[in-house]
Symmetry: C2
Subunit: 168 residues, 2 copies
């Protein structure tokens, strides 16, 4: 089966390297940027203005190789990768619920952005609380994190110039 993606746009942000990039939108208050949607997909933005948040689905193009166990930013202990939001995943797909400030044509102005500048966009989905919000859901080791780190370092990006956001 062919599992090939197409970029449908690009994410512009203030963050050009992983080090210092917020690891989640929850830790990125005030970080504004733009989502620039490519021509064939602009009509698909109609009516998006009514949503306070949107999910950005993106390709973390500068992250390192998959590791089955990792010590995530929010802990001092190692966990299975699928029990973390670390970016070094088998498929480097990130999801971020960002605040939508306004739309101008092919551009979405967004805030609470935890994504590296130039990251390829794969999809935009409206954030719908009825589907997506489970505020009481038990959250494993995140409930007693070993670290209160909120910005990325270079552990998942091999010291290279970049990294597609902190966690995902």
């Amino acid at each position: 089966m062919d599992l090939t993606l197409r970029s449908v746009g690009v994410i512009r942000s203030p963050f050009t390297v992983a080090v210092g990039t917020p690891i989640q939108p929850a830790y990125a208050r005030g970080a504004a940027g733009e989502v620039i949607v490519a021509d064939p997909y602009v009509e698909a933005l109609d009516d998006i203005e009514g949503f306070e948040r949107v999910w950005l689905i993106y390709w973390m193009d500068r992250v390192g190789a998959f590791q089955p166990r990792v010590t995530p930013y929010r802990d001092t202990r190692a966990h299975g990768l699928f029990a973390t939001r670390a970016p070094s995943r088998p498929n480097p797909i990130g999801i971020s619920a960002v605040r939508l400030l306004r739309r101008e044509g092919c551009v979405l102005h967004v805030a609470d952005l935890d994504v590296l500048d130039g990251t390829p966009l794969l999809d935009i989905k409206p954030y719908v609380p009825e589907f997506d919000a489970h505020p009481q859901s038990r959250a494993g080791w995140f409930e007693e994190p070993g670290e209160d780190r909120r910005l990325a370092d270079d552990r998942f990006h091999g010291g290279r110039d970049g990294g597609a956001g902190g966690e995902s």
Copy 2:
């Protein structure tokens, strides 16, 4: 840039065709299934048991072609595709927050499943309320839906034998 995915497992569910499949986990109470993770990725499941919900990220392999405007299941009016959760997306990536019942080796037993049987798995992320839950987020046209449909029909699957879940 090469944007090629690899399947990391498969989702088993009671739903073999799109028609009648719940369009979201919120409408799939009691629908149980299994997530079967392939060998190279099983170690990455360690510590996932502590989470009440996980995000399944998957490839909607039986959905029809991208359409920029669609009339979604929950409305009688057309909207831009990116303002809906309809599955006919430029990249057919679905995200579903399902309940995790238990883990047995390479198998996650899950409930609230809105995914078609045999759907390729791309990623598993823990559901973390601090990152993912925004219960008051304004939800555009979803706040006054024109339809109360909760199960899919075949509008996005061209009458073919299948479809990767209802919405995503």
